[in-house]
């Protein structure tokens, strides 16, 4: 065979007689895929360092000599750890390779319980699959099988069946390499080796659910899903997780109208293939037995089922042209289309600007906040970019809780190329273990800590004299100066809007923006939202604007009687607002309360009208995540009872108030959104197949400092 012309960075290797060029150092197990072939694997996982433990991928390997002959290595080699080098010859289908695979499978199976008929993994099990294709059909093992605990709880979510474990180490490596909490380790040795937590510790990682998915057998099982279904009885549909604003791609498995489990779906731009426990185990509300299925109307202190028409009638009577006496509050899991239609209804028909989607203590107005005071965008960095940053400043709550995927990427940056990370927080965070500096401040002193670090960072730099002067009152200590070393050059800032829940949150954000602007890092500043579609709500203007009332003013207005009618869209103020008494007073005092919800909540007991609406898996819609990626979620189930998609409900109401051409599809609403706001143009429905589309980031209008916070 004629040799291929060599391109730089590529090497020529031969796999089963076919010559091909691959990047130098590519693992043979990956190169083989280029030919549409596969090498069976267990321990190998493309997102973790290869270890070559299970020996399933043994192949014959040789080197082509200058005279054209091939010198084979005496032993078979693991394809998952072997890097491609020039003249490498790989044989994946020889008698000996086939015998080796059968041998390894025989070894794995001798102590495996073969309880496939009742195993959660049965039907989607790599051990089953590999055995089918490469394994022996009978056993030669006549000794007694190893017996070990069958339901060994590792945590609230994960149960380990030790007999099924094939000791591939994927789970152990996941907690060491990916989540970084190193909560699993191998105990004992030889045939007795088992993956466990250390004594008196749990697998309480925020990412523990992933080990269930990467386990190649049914050893690590979900405590919730155990023995609940067979995989072939499930319907699996792609969806997006709405438990936070990262918008991870997931597989949504359901059966008989019940959500059964959530698995990670590959999306290299967002979650790679991981999920956090909040997302993986947090969708239980969809299965709640008491989800509202009919409109309810209060009659003599009791909520009674009613029809839509009566409910609409009452709502129109209280809201139409309600002006400043009506208000709407919105939760996080509302689609762009629903939000847009809700806002239109309020603006056009109720003539009320009193709308808000924010529930934090601090509610910056249009002239405040990062844009108002500093003229920079809230977000500049996409999720995938975090894995290539060299220095980062992480401020506020635990990044792993607020932005789990940003956390995983940032940890990867540290692990792969030693990114320097500075953490400023009031409490211990997940990122502490790899941070080059941790500044732990007292509760409520976040702003001072940021200001002191800013002063230390500016000591190392030229320029920004005005900011340096303003920071005079904040003398950095040795720890701040040490931390500032990591931020000498370009650095990225990440903070979540949960910081607005702190009394000094506004000042903290402003101080961070000042630091970013003062050090020419404004292009790397990020204040990410936390709620699933908070970004969408902010972009679509579901906030008071210049004239309206914000969440606090609306609640106060209800208590004082200025707000007569309140509409709660997919939100429970008791769960979201920090002052329970204020919520209770507001809901008790408001004359007319509409609670529109897909799941039962505490506010319902004060409602005048309850409107059942679809949860995200029951209606088509788009959601905007922290990096302004608009992703479409398609309806998976039929709505519960008489529940309607929220946008449809608003459309029907608007038709009652002003008959016009109705809207039939959410895509029409997206067209209207685009017509109103050009920045949404990439999100036209025909662009949203696959991983969705990103809206522009970093729309900066002249960065500026804001010094008054330091006084």
């Amino acid at each position: 065979m004629a040799s291929l012309a060599q391109e730089p960075g590529l090497v020529t290797i031969t796999i089963d007689g076919t010559e091909l060029q691959v990047p130098k150092g590519e693992l043979v197990v990956e190169s083989v895929k280029r030919l549409g072939r596969e090498i069976p694997i267990f321990c190998y996982h493309p997102r973790m360092k290869p270890v070559g433990m299970c020996r399933m991928c043994l192949v014959e390997v040789g080197m082509k000599q200058p005279d054209g002959t091939v010198r084979m290595m005496p032993k078979p080699q693991a394809g998952c750890t072997l890097p491609a080098s020039d003249n490498l010859v790989v044989i994946t289908d020889s008698e000996s390779v086939i015998a080796d695979r059968r041998g390894v499978l025989e070894f794995l199976l001798i102590n495996h319980p073969l309880d496939c008929p009742i195993c959660d993994r049965g039907g989607e099990c790599p051990l089953q699959n590999n055995t089918l294709f490469y394994g022996p059909s009978t056993t030669r093992y006549v000794e007694v099988k190893r017996h070990l605990p069958k339901a060994f709880p590792l945590s609230r979510h994960v149960t380990l069946d030790l007999e099924r474990c094939i000791q591939c180490g994927r789970c152990v490596r996941f907690t060491e390499e990916i989540s970084g909490d190193a909560q699993l380790a191998f105990l004992f040795r030889g045939a007795a080796m088992t993956p466990r937590t250390f004594e008196l510790t749990d697998l309480d990682s925020k990412f523990s659910g992933n080990v269930i998915e990467i386990c190649p057998v049914g050893a690590l099982t979900s405590s919730d899903y155990r023995f609940r279904a067979r995989p072939w009885d499930l319907e699996t549909r792609p969806s997006t997780c709405l438990e936070c604003a990262n918008g991870c791609s997931v597989w949504f498995d359901h059966r008989g109208g019940k959500m059964v489990r959530i698995n990670g779906r590959v999306n290299d731009a967002v979650n790679e293939e991981w999920t956090c426990d909040k997302g993986k185990f947090g969708h239980g509300y969809l299965n709640a037995p008491d989800r509202p299925a009919k409109p309810l109307i209060r009659k003599e202190d009791v909520l009674a089922a009613a029809d839509w028409s009566t409910a609409y009638q009452q709502i129109v009577a209280h809201f139409e042209d309600g002006r400043t006496a009506v208000a709407g509050l919105v939760g996080a899991k509302v689609s762009n289309e629903d939000l847009f239609q809700f806002k239109r209804m309020f603006h056009r028909h109720f003539h009320s600007p009193n709308l808000d989607h924010r529930w934090t203590r601090i509610l910056p107005s249009q002239t405040e906040g990062v844009r108002g005071l500093h003229g920079i965008d809230e977000v500049h960095t996409r999720i995938a970019e975090w894995e290539s940053v060299n220095a980062a400043l992480v401020v506020g709550n635990d990044l792993a809780s607020d932005q789990p995927m940003v956390y995983l990427r940032l940890r990867k940056a540290w692990q792969r190329h030693g990114a320097k990370v500075v953490v400023i927080s009031e409490r211990p965070t997940y990122a502490d273990h790899f941070a080059s500096a941790v500044i732990r401040c007292e509760e409520g002193k976040l702003f001072e800590a940021v200001a002191r670090l800013s002063a230390a960072v500016l000591q190392n730099r030229e320029g920004a004299d005005a900011l340096r002067a303003a920071l005079k009152p904040f003398a950095p200590d040795a720890k701040d100066r040490a931390a500032a070393e990591a931020l000498k050059g370009e650095f990225f800032t990440v903070c979540s809007e949960s910081v607005y829940a702190k009394p000094d949150g506004g000042k903290t954000v402003s101080a961070l923006a000042n630091l970013a602007v003062g050090t020419d890092n404004a292009q790397r500043f990020n204040l990410y939202p936390v709620g699933a579609n908070d970004m969408g709500a902010a972009l679509l203007g579901v906030h008071p604007g210049g004239q309206g009332m914000n969440t606090r003013e609306i609640l106060e207005g209800c208590i004082q009687g200025r707000i007569k009618s309140l509409w709660l869209l997919e939100c429970d103020p008791f769960a979201l607002w920090h002052d329970h008494q204020q919520v209770q007073d507001a809901l008790e005092n408001v004359e007319f309360l509409v609670v529109q919800t897909s799941a039962p909540n505490q506010a319902m007991q004060y409602a005048s009208v309850v409107l059942p609406c679809c949860a995200h898996v029951e209606a088509d819609g788009t959601y905007t995540n922290i990096e302004r990626r608009v992703q479409k979620i398609e309806a998976i189930w039929r709505p519960k009872g008489d529940a309607k998609p929220s946008w449809k409900l608003f459309t029907e109401l608007m038709l009652r108030m002003n008959p016009s051409r109705p809207i039939f599809e959410p895509s029409e609403l997206m067209e209207m959104i685009i017509a109103e706001d050009e920045s949404f143009a990439p999100a036209a429905y025909h662009n949203l197949e696959g991983n969705g589309a990103c809206l522009p980031l970093g729309v900066d209008a002249g960065a500026q400092l804001f010094m008054e916070i330091y006084q």
């Binding site: 080699q77 000791q167 191998f186």
Partner: protein, 437 residues
Amino acid sequence: MPELKLLLKHKARTLDEYRRIGGYAAFQKALAMDRQAVIDEIKKSGLRGRGGAGFPTWIKWNGIPKQKTKRHYVLCNADEGEPGTFKDKELMESTPHQVIEGMMIAGWATQADVGYIYIRAEFMDCARAVKSAIDEAYAEGLLGKNIQGTGWDFDLHVHLGAGSYECGEESAMMSSLMGERGMPRLKAPHAPLPTIAGLWDSPTLINNVETFACAPHIIQNGGDWYAAMGASTKNSRGTKIFSVSGHVNKPGNYEIEFGTKLSDLLELAGGIKGGALKACIPGGSSVPILNAESVAKAVIGYEEIGEVGSMVGSGGCIFFNEHTCIVALMWRTAKFYMRESCGKCTPCREGTDWLFQIHDRIIKGGGRPEDINLLKQICAQIDGRSFCGLGDAAAWPIVAALKVFPHEYEYFIQHGKSIVDTPQSKLMFPYAEPVPV
């Protein structure tokens, strides 16, 4: 041939005693030599690794980068765990400075900053002896900063293992030393050699205790002088210490020149006791077993002993008399490897367990005729397929026993009891009576 004592010639536990027998003269000589010249001397000597694999020592020394960009390490493998081997124990206990001097010469030749002696935890006396020798060397300025005004800094530390045979495997030793679980690491061609990226990803030279102990003698007397010993063999030079044990009258360490006959070694150890010679494991429990006929023919040398089907290994030479049941011996061997497998790779983890269970069943009287083939196939599924050499080491003795003494297995399986039916042989059995299965 008589013993040729080089490493075991003197007992010198203290620095004074060691100086009296010419200690550290070789180190002084090496300091005056060019680094490459030291390595060339080792190359001339033909020294091969004494830990078991017999890899040419100079290639490792020469493989450490000459342009230093990172810290360099020297690691002494003193995790002598191979059953039947106890040469390093004596070397460290009787002349610890000899080992330290060898490491210092290696450290000088490879521009090392730090040396570690990884001693198995059971060798507490060794650890004490080596530690006090290191303390003496520091006090005399032989170790530490700016040694002898050369500007070279070299520190030496003792590290105790935690009771794992696997940690004698060089990459597992590095894992263990770095605080990780004692499991082997990827090796070439899957990862760079330890001489490029070993401990903490830095160049690391790893040699056995005996190998390091040879270095002072080679530097002092020249590589050619050393290479003259063992010249009758194909490619084995110098002397080798054999730890002779088993059914011999005078068990102990015997240092002989390569080219000595295996039967001469038996004579040195006072000959076989309690009956006629039946078998010998010449190089530690992992090497193939030999019968009396092969022992008579065998000449000690890396290649020579290979001609009769075994290996020099680590030099743990065990002789067995006629009262030895080979099946029971293999039961014991299989049990050792089952318990010492680290668990990392499938063939070794599951295979060693299975091999032991079959042996256990056979000696309980429950053997089946197909077990012999099964044992052979399991061994073939382990040998060369495991992650590190432990799997191979578990398979070889059984493969050899099945080849050399097949009738013993056949008899045991057929009759449910050993072919060796003497009162002495009863002592070998773990179970008082064969237990019907």
